[in-house]
Symmetry: C2
DNA sequence: ATGATTTTTTGATATAGGTCAAAAATTATT
DNA sequence: AATAATTTTTGACCTATATCAAAAAATCAT
């Protein structure tokens, strides 16, 4: 059963009742994305969250005509555009597929229903945010105190399984360094 | 009733039942802190969260003997050391008072109790994390793409009411720039 | 208040990483 | 496979910010 993959993810944080499994199964929708395909566009409210079964998505925005990558999300993670999704605001971010990707989507109204009816779902949301929280704090530390080279190494260690699947230019903008600089850093090894 | 100040804060996110108000009142403890006093020390697990009624706290760590400020928290906010508090880990952070401060403390076991028995408390926790989340994302953007000067200006706008109450050296380490640089930036205006 | 300590400012110099431009390598399209 | 488009690398030069050192100003303790 393909939903099992999502269930396993939830099980890292909470005990999933059969009732919740049922409701979840009925609400998630399978999607396949081609490389380069958008799942969300700027100037809209982000209304779905995507659980990646296989593949790699990127959230980015445009700055002076350039794409600036904000995060990358791979297997067994949920992606959405956080601020737009949580606060139902129009967005500046785009989400596209770096690779061909298989995902489940969950609409925000369905998430709302689940949060409303299953207290453990609130708990899941709080706890899983804690994980992301810790990542953001590390990223801030990394940006404040480390050289471009160290930041790249940190990036490779955090995105262990996927860093090699992401084009150099996207990594550079994610790290906030010039693409030329990243190219030089890579050349050192 | 002094607890009203905390209730007002909760009311920004959820409707507070009388039962929850009761339980909260019984669990929060009033504390007064002198300037410079520590409320939490590294090498311990952070077991309390503090709601600031008046004053200013700072969370910092030591790097090569230097104090590096991680955040500042003022009136009507909760402070703790996030990673240690959420994951019950030994900590690297210290929390001290920049000014004489009045706070309520809430022990993690009491928070656990409230989360356990009041689903709206889970909701509050999730939603209030959303607010902090948005701040962290902005801070990351600010670190990646803006000059020291712009970062300082952004800092002043975010910490509108409190930036002037924080010593320059602490602000510099928060922004990840040298204290001399910040002094020069300030001199420009 | 007075000296001691801490914090901030100013000056001189060094460097990591940015920018612009062009070549090389890789990937996509017909 | 050949050509076009995109991405990455290399080179030359420049700028923002770091570092080190010392003076000035502010704050603290007796």
């Amino acid at each position: 059963m393909p939903e099992n993959q999502v269930f396993l993810h939830f099980a890292k944080y909470i005990a999933l009742s059969n009732a919740l499994k049922e409701e979840l199964s009925q609400r998630i929708v399978s999607k396949t994305l081609k490389k380069g395909e958008l799942v969300h566009s700027a100037h809209n409210v982000c209304t779905s969250s995507y659980f990646i079964r296989k593949g790699l998505l990127r959230i980015y925005f445009l700055k002076e005509g350039q794409e600036i990558s904000e995060f990358f999300c791979a297997e067994n993670e949920w992606v959405n555009s956080p601020k737009s999704f949580m606060q139902r605001q129009l967005d500046i971010y785009w989400i596209d597929a770096i690779e061909e990707t298989e995902a489940f989507s969950l609409h925000i109204s369905d998430l709302g229903y689940l949060l409303e009816h299953f207290p453990e779902m609130e708990r899941y949301a709080r706890l899983s945010m804690g994980t992301i929280f810790a990542h953001l704090l590390e990223r801030i530390s990394s940006l404040r105190f480390t050289s471009a080279k160290e930041r790249y190494e940190h990036f490779c260690s955090v995105y262990q399984t996927i860093h090699a699947r992401i084009p150099l230019g996207m990594v550079a903008s994610y790290l906030g360094i010039a693409q030329e600089t990243l190219s030089r850093i890579r050349a050192l090894k």
